[in-house]
Every structure is written in C-alpha cells, then in structure tokens.
Subunit: 464 residues, 4 copies
Amino acid sequence: MKIEGIEMIFEKIVSEGLAHNSYVIGSAGTAAVIDPRRDCDIYEDYAVREDVAITHIFETHRNEDYVIGSLELAARTGAQIYHGSHMAFSYGNPVTHGDTFSVGNLELKVLETPGHTEESISIAVTDRELGDEVYMVFTGDALFAGDVGRTDFFGKAETPRVAGALYDSIFRTLIPLGDGVVVCPAHGAGSVCGARLTEHEFTTIGYEKKLNPALQKTREEFITHKMNEILYHPPYFKKMELYNKEGAPPLNGLPYSPPLNPQEVDTRMKEHAQVLDVRNPASFSGGHIPGSYNIWKEGVPLFAGWVLTYDDPIIIVDEDTRTITDILRYLVRIGYDSIGGHLAGGFASWYMSGRPINTISTWSVHDLRAVLDTDLFLLDVRERRSWDYDGFITGAHHIYVGEVANRLKDIPQEEHVVIYCDSGFKTGVAASILKKNGYECTTVLGGMAAWKKAGYRVENPLES
Amino acid sequence: MKIEGIEMIFEKIVSEGLAHNSYVIGSAGTAAVIDPRRDCDIYEDYAVREDVAITHIFETHRNEDYVIGSLELAARTGAQIYHGSHMAFSYGNPVTHGDTFSVGNLELKVLETPGHTEESISIAVTDRELGDEVYMVFTGDALFAGDVGRTDFFGKAETPRVAGALYDSIFRTLIPLGDGVVVCPAHGAGSVCGARLTEHEFTTIGYEKKLNPALQKTREEFITHKMNEILYHPPYFKKMELYNKEGAPPLNGLPYSPPLNPQEVDTRMKEHAQVLDVRNPASFSGGHIPGSYNIWKEGVPLFAGWVLTYDDPIIIVDEDTRTITDILRYLVRIGYDSIGGHLAGGFASWYMSGRPINTISTWSVHDLRAVLDTDLFLLDVRERRSWDYDGFITGAHHIYVGEVANRLKDIPQEEHVVIYCDSGFKTGVAASILKKNGYECTTVLGGMAAWKKAGYRVENPLES
Amino acid sequence: MKIEGIEMIFEKIVSEGLAHNSYVIGSAGTAAVIDPRRDCDIYEDYAVREDVAITHIFETHRNEDYVIGSLELAARTGAQIYHGSHMAFSYGNPVTHGDTFSVGNLELKVLETPGHTEESISIAVTDRELGDEVYMVFTGDALFAGDVGRTDFFGKAETPRVAGALYDSIFRTLIPLGDGVVVCPAHGAGSVCGARLTEHEFTTIGYEKKLNPALQKTREEFITHKMNEILYHPPYFKKMELYNKEGAPPLNGLPYSPPLNPQEVDTRMKEHAQVLDVRNPASFSGGHIPGSYNIWKEGVPLFAGWVLTYDDPIIIVDEDTRTITDILRYLVRIGYDSIGGHLAGGFASWYMSGRPINTISTWSVHDLRAVLDTDLFLLDVRERRSWDYDGFITGAHHIYVGEVANRLKDIPQEEHVVIYCDSGFKTGVAASILKKNGYECTTVLGGMAAWKKAGYRVENPLES
Amino acid sequence: MKIEGIEMIFEKIVSEGLAHNSYVIGSAGTAAVIDPRRDCDIYEDYAVREDVAITHIFETHRNEDYVIGSLELAARTGAQIYHGSHMAFSYGNPVTHGDTFSVGNLELKVLETPGHTEESISIAVTDRELGDEVYMVFTGDALFAGDVGRTDFFGKAETPRVAGALYDSIFRTLIPLGDGVVVCPAHGAGSVCGARLTEHEFTTIGYEKKLNPALQKTREEFITHKMNEILYHPPYFKKMELYNKEGAPPLNGLPYSPPLNPQEVDTRMKEHAQVLDVRNPASFSGGHIPGSYNIWKEGVPLFAGWVLTYDDPIIIVDEDTRTITDILRYLVRIGYDSIGGHLAGGFASWYMSGRPINTISTWSVHDLRAVLDTDLFLLDVRERRSWDYDGFITGAHHIYVGEVANRLKDIPQEEHVVIYCDSGFKTGVAASILKKNGYECTTVLGGMAAWKKAGYRVENPLES
C-alpha cells in the first residue's frame, strides 16, 4: 500500500541478444509501454505487481530486427496502439508531431524524429506534478548511447537525404530538449541497429552531446560518416518489416516444444527439420548431431535470422531443458513460431542412442600460431569493420559469418579451413555451416581477442 | 542428465480449496496426466523440467465440482484424452474395463469402478521393469483416504443401486489389487465430493481396508449409510456437468484482470458487476464496499459457486495485488471466466476516494455468551451434519451458508442477526449476503471451535 | 556469455518503506556497492548473476535511519569499506576529497559534500572507456530528486552553519559536474531523510537545477528554509547512529521466527513480548489481540522505531505467513534482531482458540461529518507540516502519531477519541496505542485524502 | 487459512546425485525432520510456508555418504536431535526400541533395525486421529525400494553377522508392520548406499515383499548374497563418518564463491587450487583448462569424493554462473567447504584471455568399432558389477573410475588410451585424470549403452 502521493513507475526491459529496450512508464494507476516485445507477459506481470492498467502502447518506429508485440499486448489489455503517421500501418493509430497524451500525471508528447525510418517518432515525457520541463525522452532508433540509428535501409542513393534528416532530428528536435533530459533509446550495446552503441544503462542529452562521436560532427561530416558505414542486412529483416507493418500473427503464449527422442529427431531431420544446437562452440566441437547448426544461446537472437529458414520446423538441442524456454522466447521474438521440439535428455541422449556424431577440432591461438605458415585456409568471419579497423591475422580471408552459407564457392573444400572471429562464438556458427556442407574445419577458441592478448602480430589493412 | 536407468516420474498436484488432486505419472520420456485442472500450465512446466512428453490424459469420471482441463492440455501437447465409455462425451476416446496403455515402461490398465458416476474408471499402474504386481491405482472419486465417493447425484431412488455399485467396485475391483498398492484418489480432505476425507498425503489399500470407516461395513450397511448421507449441491455443479460432458470453452491462459479505480468499480457495480471481497472476515467486518460479497481467499473455490452468477462480470477486492493471480485461477477452475477486474490499490483505495463504507460488528465467543439470553436471532450457517453430530449453541437457528440467499424470508429483518459457523469464515460469507440485503448483523469470530475451547455449553440435537 | 566488449553494470536497489536506495555499479568483472543494506544477500545474488566480484563498498555518510550493511557484506565478499574522513568510524577506510578508485574501466572519485553530516561524501563516476566526462554521481543525502538532505541533526544553533555547508556542497561541488550528469541519491520519496522528495526513478543535475525547489533559492533563503523545516527524530535514530559508527552486530542471515500457537503468544506477552500486528487498519479494527500494536506492513520500516523497544522480543501477527520474511527484513534493517516468533495460523488462530479480542470502530469521512458537532475528541496524527500546509478538520487536536505514546496526558481518557491522518494507516498505529492504554477510539478510514475528495470543509491554519 | 480439521503435512526432499531422501512430517503446527541435509534452508522455508515449528530431528543412522544437517537445523530452530543409542555420538539424544514421540496427532515410534550400521533405527508413524495402525515407516538404509542397505562397512569377517542382523530387522521388525504401510527410505535409485535401488517415488511393505529381490531369499541366501556384493568405498567416507559422529563444523549458509578472472585462476592453480570443470564430457573434450578435473554437474555429489582432496581450495568452471549455487550445495553436502571461487565468464573467458587449452578426442561407438583391432589400450571404468553382469567390449581392461588415479601404473603411458563407461560421463572423469597425468586419450561418447544399441558384440565374462 503506497499511502502518500502518487508514485511514478518506470521500468526498462531488456531483451538480450537483440539488445532491445522496451519501457513501461506510468503514474496514478495507468501506464504506457514503449516498443513492447512479442512475448509480452512481462509487461502484464509488471502491471499487476505495480497495480497499474496498461492503456497506451507507443511504437517509436517500424522495427526491422524483431517482431513488435503491440497487437499481442493490446489484445490482452485493451490498450491503444500509436505510431508515426508516415507509414501506412495496417493497425493502430497514427500520431503527428506535437500530439500529447496523458498517462496519469505524466504528459507524453510526440516528436517526429525521422532518419532511421521515415515515420520514426520520439516521445518526450513531462511530469506535470513538478513543472513543465521535459524529464525524459524515448528516442527509439534515432539517438543511442554512443551512437545514432542506422540510415542504410533506403539504399545508397537515399542515404544522404535520410542521414541529413536524422542529423536534423537530433540537432533540431532532441538536443534542444536540454542537457538534463534522460535519454531512453530502443537499443543498447550489441544491437544490429547501430554500429558502436555503448553499454550505459541510460544516458542524458548532455552526456551524449559531449561524448557521442556522431554528435561531434558537422552535418556534412555526419552524412559522409553514414555513407561509409558498413552494416549487415540479415535476410530475416524482410519478414520483420512485413510483420511490423501488417501485424504479426497472434502468439498467445509461447509455442509448445515437445520433447523428442533421438529416433524422432532423426526422422524429422529427414523431413527437413532444422536442428539448432545452442551449446557453446567448444561443446559443439566436442560432439554434435551431424547436420545441425550451432548458435550459442545468447547468439540466437542475432544469428538465427541468418541461418534458419521460416519454412521448416526448428528442433533445439542443448545440454538439458533448463534454458529451452529462453530459446523459445528468442525465436518467437524474431518470428520463428514453427517449433518442432527439443531433444529430450539433451545432446547426451543422442550419442547414448548409438547414433553417429560429428566433431570439429579446436585450437588455441598458440596452436594456430605454431602452424600459421603451413598449408591451410584461414577464414576470418568477423564483421567487415572489425577487419578494417582492428586488423587481422596474416594470410586470413574475410567472409562475414552471415554470408558464409552463400559464399561456399569462395572457400576451397579440399583445404583445411581454420576459422576465427572475435572470440570463438561466431566461429562456431560458421564451422557448423561448413561441417554441414562437408568441409573439414578447425575453430580457433578465443579468436582475435586471444590472439592479441597473446601478443601475436596483427595485420593492419591500411598498411597492407 | 540422468545417466543410468530409466526414472519413473510421479507428481501429485493439489488444487487448494477444491482439494482436487491431479497426477502426472511417466517413464522413459513419456507421461500421462490424470484429471488435469483447467489452468494447465503447471503440467507443461513440470513436463519441461522433467523432460517428458505428455501423451495421455485420463479422466477418472465426469467431474461436477470443477472444470476439467483435458481439452486445454490436449490442445497444447497433442495428447490423447481417455474416459469411461458409459457416458456420451462430446470429445475424447472411450475406454472399457481391461484396456491397457503403455507409458514408457509403465502399464496403465483401465478398471471400471462405477458408483459415484456410471462411467467412473480407476487406473491401475504396473511397472513392467520390476514385475507384474500393481504398484499404484488412481481411484478417482471411488475410494478416498478415509471415505468413499458420494452417490447422491442420481436422486434418492437411485442411491441404493449406485451405492451398491460403488460397494462392489471397491470390494470386487479395488481391494483385490492387494494391500500394498498405493491409492491415489481424486480428492483430499476438504472436498465436497465426499463427507469425511482424511488429510493423508497418500494411502494404501491395506491402510484403508483397516481404517476407512466406510470399508468396515457390510454391503447393506454401506447402502444405508449412503442413503442417510447429507451432502450439498451447489448450483454451479450444473455448469460443471455440462462443461465436462460437452467440453469447456478454451481458456488459453488466465483472463486479464484490469486494475480498476474506485470510480470505475462504482460504475460497473451499477452495471451489475459482482464484487467479490476475498479478505478475511475480520478485515471485511472492519470495512468494505457496500454491496460486496465476502469469501475469504481459500474459500473461493468452495463458495463462489453458491454466491456468484455466471452472467455478470466479477470484480475482485483484496488488500493488494499479491494474490490476484491465485483468485483468477480459483475462478476459472469453476468456470467463472468473466473477470471485470480488480480494485487497484486494494480496499484502502476505496475509502481514500471518499466513498461510503459498510462495517459489520464482530464478537468473540465471550461477547456472545454474555448476551446469549437477550433478544437476538442466532444463526448457525455450518453444514447440517455439523449441527447434527457436533451440536449447536442454545437458541440457534440453522441455515447452511450456501442456502442463506434463498432463505432470507426465514431470517427476520427486524432482529439483530448474530451469525456463527465452525470458525468464523463461512460466517463472513453469510454476513456479507445479509448485509447486502439490508440486515444488521454481527459475526462471531471463532465460531463453534472457539465456543468449545472456551468451555461453553453445547446443545446435543439427539437430546433436545 | 557476453562475447563482445565490456559491459557496465548498474542496479538500483530500493528498500521499501525506508525509501532507501543502494546501488551496485561495476565493469569488467568488478563492482562497488554504495550504501548497502543490512540484509545484504541481494547484492551477492546480483553479483553471481552478473558474474562480478564485489570489491568496494562506499558509505556516503553515517546513516541515522537504518543499519548499514557494509560490515555484513564485507565479511562475505572481502570487499573494502570506504567512508568520509570527518567522523571517527570504528571500521573501514577514510577517504578524502579527490581520492579516486578504479572499478574496472570506471573511475569513482570522492567528493566531500558535507551538510547533512560532517563526513558526507558524494561519488562521481567517469567511464574511462568513453572519455573524461562525469557520467553519474551518487549524492547520498546531499541532493535528492526534488529536495535536499535534512540539516537538523546538530541542533538549531548549528543549523545555519551546516545548511550553508550543504548549500555550498550542492552549488560548488555537485552542480558544476554538469547538467547531463545522472544523479543517484540515497533516498526516494517517502524517506524521513528529507521533506519533499519526488518519485522519480532517477534524475539529473540539469533537471534538479530547474525544478528542485531548494535549488531555486539564494544561500540565505536556503538557510532560512532549512531553519524552518520541521522534521521528526524517531527514538531509534540513536541506535542507528551508534551502530553505524561502531559497527552493528553481525546478522548472518535473517533471524529465525518460530511459529507460535495462541497459548505461547499469550504466555510470552505476559513475559513482556511486544506484539506487532502488521495487517491493514480496517482489518485490525475488525478484531485484534488485546495489547497488540498495529503497524501496516509497508509502514513497519518507518514506524516500528517509534513504537517498539529494543529490549523485548517481537511477535508478528498477520493473516498468514506469506510476508513474514519481508517483515523480518524490515525489522533487522532498523536493528530489531530480537524476534520472538509469529502467530501460527495468523490472527484467525487466535480467535479460534477461544481467546478474547478487541475491536475498534471504523468510520468513513461521511460518518465523521455527520457527528462532527457532537461531543468527541478529534485527533489529527499527521506530520505537523501536513497540518500547517494542507489544513485540518474543524475542531481537531494535533499530536503526531510518533508522539502519541508520550502525550497520553493530552488526550482525555473519558472522551470518545476519533482519529484521522492522511489516509487511515497512521491512524491505525495511533489507535492501537490508545486502545492498549484503555481508550475507546474510532478510526476514520480515508483520513484527509477522503475528506477532501468528499468536498468537506478544511480549516486553513493561516486563517484561523 | 486452513479452517477445518488438522492437516497432516508430509514432504520428501531429494538431494540429487546422492539420491538422498530427507523427510518432513508434521501435524497440528509441529513437525519432525528425518535425516536433514546440511544445506538446511529448505526445511526452514517449508516450515514457514506450512506454518509449522520444527521440533524434532531424527537420524536413522550415522551416515557415511554425506554430512548430516541435524546440528545446522537444530541451531536455527531449537529442535531436539535423536539417534540410535548403539553409537557414541558427540551430540543429540539416544533413543531405544519402543521410544515414542508425539508430533501433533502423530505418534513416531522408534524401531531398532541394525544391520547397515549397529545403531540404525526406523521410525514408524501412527496417526492417532484415525486409529492405531501404522501409516508409514522411515526405514533409513535398512530397506529401500528394490534393495536393502549395504552391510560391508565392518569388513568381510563381520558381514555374516551384520547381514543376518539386517535380515532380522527386515523380517522381524519391518515386514510385520503390515503390507499396507508406506515405506520411506533414506535413498533412492543412484545411491551408493545400496546396489540396485529402483526409481519409485515411494513404496509399501506389501510391494517390496513381492518384488524386492533381496526379500525373496532365505536368511542364508541373503547372507551369501551380501557376502558377494561388491561396493566401493570412496575415500571421502572417512570424513563423513567422523563428521557425523562428532558433529560437522557449522555452515551458516553457503560459502561465498568469488568470481575469479583467468589470471587469478592461473595463480591459484600454481598455489595448488583444484579446478573442477562441471561441464559435460563432450564440452570438456572440446577444450578445457590444462590440469582441471572433469565431473559433470549431477556427478559431483558422487565423484567429487573420489577425485578432490579436502586440503586445497576448489575452483569451479562451468559455461556460466547459472548453476554455481547448485555446485556449492553439492560440495558442502559432502564436506567440501573450502571454495576458492569460480571462473568468471565461464570457460570461454579462459581461452579469450589467450591461455593454452587442452582437448580430448571423442569417438562414437562406430568410430571405436572401426579401429577395435588396431593398437590401443581400451579402458573400461564402470563399476565391477557392470563388467561382471552386463559384459564388456573385446580387449578392454577394467579399472573403476574411482581407482584410476591410484592405478596409473597399470595404464601404459605410451599407448593410445581409449576410455568407455556406461554412457560417457564417468569416462569424462577418467579422461581428465589421465590427461592431467600426461596421457593421450580418447573418450567414447555413449559407452556401453550406445555400443549395445548399435548391436555390436559384447563379451560375456562367464564365457571368457
């Protein structure tokens, strides 16, 4: 029982992997959710605990990297959905610059901040109990801690225009709100929606003005910088864009994942089920189901969209069932609703059933260093900018992990392929793709991080 | 990882209030659920944790006191539903005496045990790994710890026949299984499905044979005993019987309960919403919303079906939101799916909004004793058998709590009505009904339990 | 597995009731805790989950309203304790202005900010990965959201000096950090450590500069304002001050609370145990153990220190055991380690045992209004400033709830005492004290909040 | 609030790995704990939830496979400890045959059932509310589901005497209790305290009489059977026996496990810390810290006592921190209180720091079959009885996993050692010991289970 005064409630809800932030903000018994995720039970649980009714849902923009949960949450709570007016959504209510909404004593004001997408909005919050000053602003993918939103979705030709629009959104709309305003962006570090987000739990206009590299540039420098930015478009983005414009199919709770015995997994694989092994790369290397993909758990939200199709059911393999529910959440957040099940008993039940296994050899960086001059195909699967800015190992070939499956012709099947990345995790993904395609390969555990710590020589692309 | 052998899994799941037992039993990766409840997430969570697939659902009989969750659980898991063949169910598969099912290494064998209902079955479990002996038996409402199922559903005329059938089911089918067989009944102490269930977590054929009073009788004595048994038929039984024969509407998770402010509660009450205050009777007496019903939390499964209609939405009032989810579970288990919401901020928010309150005076048994000879209408709302067998307080009138609403004409409005029950909880229910109907009343906290502990005189109905 | 980069971790941990904020901040595997509470398992659990070692503990000042958990947490983790140098603590390490500490990539810099206490420090955080700008500042009891720390601990004569020091700490040390700096104070709304704290989850220098009323004043106005501020000193502050200077006795987990039956409670009350009934005031009014104190759950941290002694064991009474652990936490946080137990079965077991009960009548504000002109002693137990600034009900006498026990001589025993407060909760505390002392009294549910909502007349002390 | 009658409470608490069962049984607000484990918070939490006071603690015998938690639990709750009188314990109260104790309405009667140890007791429970028949019996290590307790602790010479005593305990004391009595043993399947325990959740005298192989024998056959039984004595038993006779040091909550970075782990290993890698064997094979031991999580309670010393601190390595608390529980249950910490960031942080790794090659049974005739040293590390009764692979040498470290001289260092067990888990333990000692080895994933499923030839020791 809160007996005195009216408490403002505020909660940041992070979806790991996607590094997606949604927010609940409320006052006096009502609350708004900003950019809800699709498995939206978390908002309802929070609302019951805090004893508030969710009445408003805001989408800062049409997202491309995950399925937004607005319809799901609205169906449960009866809340109204609002989004920018410069896109023809099949659901919800369009809002325009200056529209205001009352949520208890809070005033939420819509600010159009185009650039990342045409219809992007930010939402400025004022606490009317205290005064007219803006207290916080939800900036969606316009302004992050340490970076700004990507502007490459409309093609190279359009980038100058939309990058300029983003610059103006930031400098003419957001920064004038005042240095003391708390900034709540839609993504944190690790997101694919920007290049160099920092790890701060939250930030302020004043702090970003001083330290955000993108905000230290002139408009021209800013546009040039955005023109040169290299970011990837995982193929699942198309599905997300469609879902988030038209409305995704209703989820109604997580899908049911039946436990399958090895015989059933075997049979379903023959019927084209996709096996997703979510163990760490060292574990996968020590033994795995032939034909399975490896994406470590926390990597599923980021890499499943590169590796899995939407057409065939997914079978999950782990050590045990402890994290199956987490994996299901990761998958439905990016639209993978077709769950075939999971291997009961974990990977051990596979080999205990007398079935064949595949293995991949693992090397430390010292093992790699010792044979660097021998005959091998060294494959670097990091992002291009890591290669460009952080250097690479002598003799390496670069293919981004997400593109390995489509560039097998550039990887000689007859050679011993040795793969590295930043740390060894993306390497596991790449190795599983190669192994599935008949390659013999070795993963370097520790990757560039370990290579540098060991003090070994790094090639500088600018010099070479 | 369980590396050696094949573990049998077994779990008893109790739904409080209804004292309903459901069970999960399994082996080698598969499991059966016996008599699932409607909010069936608990079985699925258990199955994930134990890494088994739910493949079979058995209904020991068409239940009348709660909505069975078979369809709900089957929709999630794809399991098959089985029930007795002597009723025309609209779903599931009929089974007959001697049918056997394999669940891993377990053999589940159907035994027809009519009596409580015509199509009642028991299910005997044999562990084939160990031998041919029956290990445990699910007895539904045929045999309980300390009692047997009620046989009054077919009317007085049919009771001799069905009571005889039940006697035969027990003595010819269940007892011959052997003294060492573990008995898993569908209800525990507190259920309305039998008169005198004991509190044992589980029991055995041997133990019941020796100590269950009903099993000490001859066939004739048994039938006479059942003829004389007085049990109540709450009006909601009709709905349950219909639902459990035809199939209840899908639930798909708990209903959403919007938090309502006092103004909203006020408005909806005028639109015929039913307000259910689940606080304890002393709390309700200290202040409540005029027109609200009082059923203490754990009493909701047993008494909501006497008090609430299925036509109007229900608004829940408690101190806070801690137990709202529990109350929702209690309500949907007996088919109350129309949830209007709950009072945000708990009862305190009602009076803090400046709205009127009602109060009820409370007495200890000493307070009652002091004025017993004065002019008051002393109302005993316990079950009839408590009055008959445990005695009553001098001058009391008996009306069972469930029948108070229909017998107001027997309670003089102009008198001071003082109510007691076993302990004070059912008294709260009765008092709220009377108060809602304009009576002035007093509740005796502690009821007969306290009266006896205080050493006060108890009338013996056999003497008077 | 976080595979890329080094994540900053940050968590605000609120101890309800006390409205005390502690914080964990860390980077690169190490973390500091600011102002830990005494039941410090929460920090250790968080550290395991985030996989960081707690290496530093900072006390922003010698607290007077709760027992600090530094020694407790240090004993578990081996972390070092740091506090200001202008007090002779019996433990830990003194730090002075400008001292810096590395916690991963973060730099924590000590800023002396005296005023609330002589040795108060703030801690400015810079993220060295990003640049030299201060990111956030832990301000202890110097600067809150919406208010500043109290300055009345040294007596009226010293207030001008220490209020001036606080003004200087804020204007010369904190504000110059920059508008964009995030402010993390040691208390939120509801704390006794300031008068008018607002409800914001966090704030910034820039926002406070504009909207914090105390920061709109000149130095002279500020000192005058602090001279006129009326705040209470609960008697338990003395114990806290001693504990926090000398080091509190080790807790080693929560005390064991044995469940007691009514007979045992009866016996222990005769041996001077203090019974604390934590139900809401309406529930307490409907029936309670004669001689028990009533403090509603969330009020325990704030009012136990006014009501309970440290000499006698405490017996807790509630409806059930759901929140017993919460109550134990509340009690040990303010040094009440002598737990006698709790009433098993809740209050109902008391009256079911046939023991006497006390009741208190409850009124709505309408009930009060109807008899306002009759002969009663209307008692207002709110804080003095509520009386002064928000007005009162005609005819009321003011005694703050915390002072009722010491001012019984000012309350006529022969009159009907009708009590109100802001909402009805503090009224419960006061009523239980009066009832224990033989008064007949009535509590007004809803208090001033309901009175105003009902539109009834409020006296303005400035006019009267 | 349970308003009617007095509920019997009963809970079986399983400590995984050890397959140790403890029990809470109670009635009317009081409860007894049978054979509590050392991390005894679980009993206290249960007692608070069920609102009972723990007043009695019974030890069925002086355990040798885990540290009993009686003193720990008694220190918290004030309960009295009881154990058999035929051993000179340094704490608690001796009881003899026929002693009875009241726990609410239950009567607990001591039955001396020597054999497994001299002072072993069973405890028969009668519910006095219902009658004089025994309801359940706690049989300690005398009678299990499917087996009886081991009788080899006193040496070969004494076995006939103690086996005879056990036979008499079962046939003269336990079986006469009656077929319908529920049997609650101190261990379930997987325990080292018996040879062939079955997986039943609970059992009855009647069921065991029919299906327990040991109970089908004459006294002579029984003694001969026990004489021939081969069971292992892990070295940690000595410590347990001492602790459980003299009283173990107080635990006071789980030890603190500091997260350590790779540098710290490196340093501590040089100071003789023991590194325990709890990942599955395939994961360990894919890469591990040189010099670390591998025991998969659930195997820690069973195999740590063979592998780890009590002298040096233990450092835990896993994928992440999710199960660190579980591992700590496993370790303290067998007396390993000296925790050095755990590798922060899991195994990945080790290789990302640029440190060397070891790997072990893994084979499926098909890989083994293909080279079975080549030059390798095939090592079978299963229990001797598995070799004897279930057969072995042609050419294998047998050394039990627990004895590998002491029999290195029997394993040729110059050969390629290929290891198998039942499934592959114990193989991981053995491989880690060999690798640490400089061997090159290969683990066969799936072991004998997979070998048989694949249909490959098994040698019969009786034939060869």
